[in-house]
Subunit: 143 residues, 6 copies
């Protein structure tokens, strides 16, 4: 995890930086609103990435943002095992991510599929998620 | 109430603007963290001021910040009646704001007095507040 | 809508106030993190209520919080028509709120029912929601 | 201004809704983090739009989000007059928005131009902004 | 410390999860508003707990929330020594937590006691705190 | 990095604490809005400081704030090398911080200089920054 506090960069610039960091291979990038000295509303940048990418991500943050320093912390992670299944909804096929770990199993419709179908059929995103949830339940019953 | 969404100004610049607006006579100025389009972490500026100051405050906001527009809304207000009393604490005199309205009475030690004494005696701010609270209670008992 | 900026009340006190205001009949109460002058992290209290309750809610806010003033604004509202239906899930009956307006219809499982069943069966809240979503879909098909 | 408090919609769903509302012609859409009853972290949706679009935007919000109600408030606005000029930087042409109002004049490099050139030349966004600022200063000197 | 970023769970669901984690023995649970990619307003879950509970808390987070991964970090802690004393206020007995460490001593009225008395006597929470503060000061004087 | 969650201290008190900690030699102090149990809006205090100052900063946090415990984490840091240059603007001299690291070079006008000139000439802070940016560009050209 790499972090930097940014009080001399615009929101416009920060929106740009998020894209640059994700394209460069960061696992995840997120912003937290913070309050710094001298009445400054500011933003904390957090970048999650592979340890092997540490130098490249640091260089990128120092190049693209206004900060003159970053800080690092190693976190350990537990990630559920994932595979994908496809279900048929009235609007078309939707992939579901099936995640399993230590007796826990979760199925989540893939956002990209649902968003695409919602736009194509001019229906709410919620409707596609619900259709995928119903289709997944029927699939599980048949098993 | 005057508001503007700011996504192209730095936190450093916003800290400066708060001071400028308060010196110009705004009743109150505060910042709210918001999230705007294109992944931009941004800040909403809210300025409370006298209706008669509307044009001057607008001019100042447009001059000092990056926004190209502001929006206005009139809010009605209920403000408690206030007077000040002074109590003696072991660290010196502290003013209390006494606020009354519709059967409600509240006493609050003045921040500036408490902060000054805390620094002078190298004691926590909390200790001065508590001393002022105790002194106020004794005063009320004597009445 | 009644609002007040609070920079001299603790979070502990604010948690208490939310309960008091909801019990007194406010439609809704929510908190927004704001940043006030002198480097103060603060909280904006917003209370939504019936216009007829304005004086009672004002009195309550002034009594229970540290603020010495509140501000008011009238907002107009559009509220969807609602009725409730009950569906049977493998875990028991769950009410669904059916909301309709201008060609839009939405069904939402009631939180209280789902939370109760999740606790009773030691299953995730998500599982009960999904079961209710599936049951609602089957009901709609039968219509 | 149309607002709704959302405590039963995912962040994923909210990212989608922002796009839908902006495509439908809303002037601006932004999110504010709020805290609702029952320990719920929630999001306030604010949509700024033309009064003539009120019904269409309401219908869209009720259709696409989980809320069962929205609230409205009319704000007055002051918007600076704007025109665009083009300056030549070492990286190519950049448009500047020139905004004027009541004796105030501001020039801001257009984000889209700067972002495009930054990506094309593999340089920080900041470098393009600075180049545009310098080019604009030279232009003003020549006038 | 266990953390997870949640962009596909509702606020309603997060309110439920806080209760579940606290009941399961987490020391503390808190939410931070964050902003994730694709314009998603999201929530960071932070759980503080005993290292021995790490697996159980992980299992619970993966089961009850929508995340497919969590991250861990060990923090060292300094906790003040605590004992409780009871003071008599005009409204009844109130416990005070007395915390000491390295020359620092603090007394804090217990929230649960103050809240109970405030509700019983229909007085502001602040009034009970102040009464407890005054009673504690008298106790200290008598020592 | 030292952190503490504060739900029983006022914003007023937190503004005071920030000053106290910075004066005591903390590198940086910032606040993050968080949401704690029992519907409490709260604030996370983060203090960055030298490891050698750990005990002194801990003592100060426990003395000046309401928390009864703090937690620690060591972060590694990469800080750019810095030196200062002075440029002449139409409003007077402004220092620029020049930061370099691994092929990256950034120049930033010093806030204190810009703020002082903006106030002296009654011009926006932005105008001084832009003048300093232009002056720096001319300096670089002459090199």
């Amino acid at each position: 995890m790499i972090e930097a506090n940014l009080d001399d960069q615009t929101g416009e610039g920060l929106g740009y930086v998020m894209d640059v960091l994700l394209e460069a291979g960061a696992y995840d990038v997120f912003y937290t609103p913070i309050q710094m000295k001298k009445n400054r509303p500011a933003t904390k940048l957090t970048v999650l990435g592979n340890v092997a990418e540490k130098r490249a991500l640091t260089q990128l943050i120092l190049k693209e943002t206004s900060t003159i320093g970053v800080r690092y912390q190693t976190w350990h992670r537990t990630i559920m095992k994932r595979h994908f299944i496809t279900v048929e909804t009235p609007y078309g096929a939707v992939q579901l991510k099936v995640a399993t770990y230590d007796g826990v199993t979760k199925q989540t419709p893939e956002y990209a599929d649902c968003a695409r179908l919602a736009q194509q059929f001019h229906i709410p995103l919620r409707t596609v998620y619900q259709a995928a949830t119903v289709a997944a339940a029927q699939l599980n019953e048949e098993d």
